[in-house]
Amino acid sequence: MSNNDVTRRGLLKSGALAGAGVALPTIFTASSASAFTNEPTGSTVTLGFNVPQTGPYADEGADELRAYELAVEHLNGGGDGGMMSTFSSKALDGTGILGKKVEYVTGDTQTKSDAARASAKSMIEKDGAVMITGGSSSGVAVAVQALCQEAGVIFMAGLTHSNDTTGKDKRANGFRHFFNSYMSGAALAPVLAANYGTDRKAYHLTADYNWGYTTEEAIRSSTEAMGWETVAAVKTPLTQTDFSSYIAPVLQSGADTLVLNHYGGNMVNSLTNAVQFGLRDKQVNGKDFQIIVPLYSRLMAKGAGANVKGIFGSTNWHWSLQDDGSKAFVKSFGTKYGFPPSQAAHTCYVQTLLYADAVQRAGTFEPCAVVEALEGYEFDGLGNGKTLYRAEDHQCFKDVLVVKGKENPTSEFDLLEIVEVTPVAQVTYPPDHPQFAGGALGTCNNGG
């Protein structure tokens, strides 16, 4: 046996050529057929879209999938081309990637690292996917990223906000366009200081898992740096549905600001509960009580309904941005599906384009060449202004949006308004920043 990964599709093509019409079995090993895992040898290339289709993030996953389908359509020359026309790189020409028509397979991560890896593995082993992308939580992103490193395919992360994805769990074959906890803290702190003053006592409720920890750390250190005091930080179980017993003691603690380091269902419920308790009508230390949600998404804002009004948070992207790239994307997404895209959809669409572009520029699907093409790559026109894919940790550095729940929404999608576009310089950190310490990128893996 050879020391090689399975490369189904690539093999099939060459095998079919060699064995056409021959009934005798021919044994092939992967190494003789291809130079890297799942090298596309036919007229098509297969991408794997691995998103949550069941479980609490299914709606977010559905939106990601819409974006992927749109991206594939644009790559293959269909539709209006979306951001391909505003993208600073003009390598993509609407004829697929390197002239090969883009096909895709989909899978269900169930928002569980095991299921996500199973699904990704089936894409790699069975469907011959040469790149895996998607996901809606950091646990899944980190797990699938490690798998792709091992298998020798590229992983373009979907929605993942934890520092760890490009911090201690970074991998050479993995890339993240989405922003992270540190950036949220760095972007939010000045806006909070401007709006709420520098003399605040903050009370953190933190989801009791990795993403919660990194977010709490990021927000704490950036708010404390500008003079805020952290009164308490309480960890809440992931499976918690009713946060009343965590919210109730907040006022007694003398805090005047509540930071909800929660995402998804946790955030919807904790924010709803906090508003229910009338926290926002209270006065503490002579100031109006305030609530902050570090990571916002429109889908969550929708779940929390009117409770988000006036609450600050950060987001990777929002459809109301007025740059050409964003407008082009919103237009083609909105035309196809009838409503504006979410930030998850945006990051997934962009990741697909960035991958395709990198392959096009590298002139090969070989993962190490793609890594090289992406590392240190600077681009523009994809909605967040000038952006750098940093070589040291494969994290995108770009402007971050500070948003606020809109007081008078005009539709069910118009829930957030952009307060400030924090310039990239303000959210940039050195690769060896303590919040990202530990772990190593390693070297890229071509697999086969």
């Binding site: 989909t106 269900d108 797990a143 990795n210 179980p237 390693g442």
Partner: protein, 400 residues
């Protein structure tokens, strides 16, 4: 053969043949055809079939024989996975020490949890096991993050010591699990026409272990020990008054099935070196209960079939999307095509849970003995039909 009677030997041979030829059996459709979507003969899924088969066989030793319904069995799977990954991190990437440690660790956990939980029976026992597993899940996901990796799972890293192996490969990558120089992911392929069959070392490793596990289960089923376990399910009172102490028997069964779970966990980690806390969540425990009941409680082969059925749905049905549906029904006229796709769509892809729920209900309602009973019914129906045909023939013959 091997100390088995003929019927069991035949069963073992059937399982052996199915396992060894799975790459062929599970890939009946040629690559590129529309039906290739239903092929399950790729390494990851085949590995999952046998690993969850082992898990379910072990669970059945407890539930099928003694009737004690553990609702927290996934905890031992998780313990096994964590133990195995820690071995990969600290010792070496060889799977043997990892598996040995995983089985020992899960056995110890099972001994402790079983000793406490078996003080109660019926649903009280179920809730006790559930409570232990949920506690383990919750702690592993949160406060035990330094040991378990928490949300992201326990992973290998480039700077792990691996004292008997290497921290990194010469190319600067994390080494992969192997067996004395052979890597678990090694595969060879056989191409016949437009069929491609994959033979993966990891799969065959798991397959051999499945056969050993299955063989051991047969021996346990047919042993005096197994008979005592069935007697516990049947009438614990009588057993007590017959001079048998049921406690050590149930505890032994609990520990054995916990070790099977640990073995399955270690194999999962050996095929894919990551251990996540979700493995211990109550739904994962529920899944093995469903596998066992779906296949047929208390039967030897049932749990393996049940495991296969559920994993197949999870991995194959969930990957069918509307595009694929359209391509299947493209031969229909446009309106009809859309109509058919609309009807089918809710049941596939993201709707695979719905299909699963419906199948559970149908099986429980119509086949209380699970898939095994279904098979028996079909075979007895076939026998009857043949008998009737023979009957008819013998009746008509004299008339000729």
């Amino acid at each position: 053969m091997l100390g088995l009677d003929k019927k069991d030997a035949v069963l073992l041979v059937i399982v052996a043949v199915l396992t060894m030829f799975a790459p062929f059996i599970l890939n009946p459709f040629p690559e590129g055809s529309a039906m290739a979507q239903f092929n399950a003969g790729y390494p990851d899924l085949m590995q999952r079939f046998v690993i969850f088969g082992i898990f379910a066989i072990g669970f059945n030793i407890l539930f099928g024989l003694t009737g004690y319904l553990s609702f927290g069995h996934a905890a031992f799977l998780g313990v096994g996975s964590y133990a195995a990954v820690w071995m990969f991190k600290l010792l070496s990437m060889n799977v043997i020490p990892a598996i040995v440690l995983a089985v020992i660790m899960s056995g110890l956990f099972a001994l402790l949890i079983g000793y406490i939980s078996l003080r109660r029976s019926g649903i009280y026992f179920s809730i006790l096991t559930l409570a232990f597993a949920q506690m383990m899940f919750a702690l592993a996901y949160s406060v035990l993050t330094p040991i378990t990796g928490g949300e992201t799972g326990l992973q290998l890293a480039l700077d792990d010591p691996r004292i008997l192996g290497q921290s990194q490969t010469p190319e600067g990558n994390i080494p992969v699990p192997g067996l004395f120089g052979f890597e678990m992911r090694d595969s060879a392929e056989l191409v016949i026409g437009s069929w491609v069959f994959t033979f993966n070392l990891g799969y065959y490793f798991c397959g051999v272990i499945l056969l050993l596990a299955f063989y051991l289960a047969i021996r346990i089923f047919r042993s005096p020990f197994g008979m005592m376990l069935r007697a516990i399910k049947s009438n614990q009172q009588r057993l007590n008054y017959t001079g048998i102490n049921p406690k050590p028997y149930t505890l032994a069964a609990f520990v054995i099935s916990g070790m099977y779970a640990g073995l399955a966990g270690a194999l999962m980690a050996s095929m894919d070196p990551l251990a996540g806390a979700e493995r211990m969540f109550w739904t994962a425990s529920g899944e093995v209960v469903l596998m066992t009941i779906l296949g047929g409680v208390g039967t030897l082969i049932g749990p393996v079939l049940g495991a296969g059925a559920i994993k197949y749905m999870e991995n194959i049905i969930s990957k069918i999307n509307s595009d694929i549906l359209h391509s299947w029904f493209a031969f229909l006229p446009d309106g009809l095509e859309d109509f058919v796709v609309t009807i089918v769509y809710p049941f596939i892809g993201k709707g695979w849970h719905l299909t699963l729920g419906i199948i559970f209900m149908l099986v429980v309602i119509f086949l209380p003995g699970g898939l095994v009973e279904g098979g028996q019914r079909i075979s007895s129906w076939l026998r009857n039909r043949r008998a009737r045909r023979d009957d008819r023939r013998s009746k008509t013959e004299p008339a000729e």
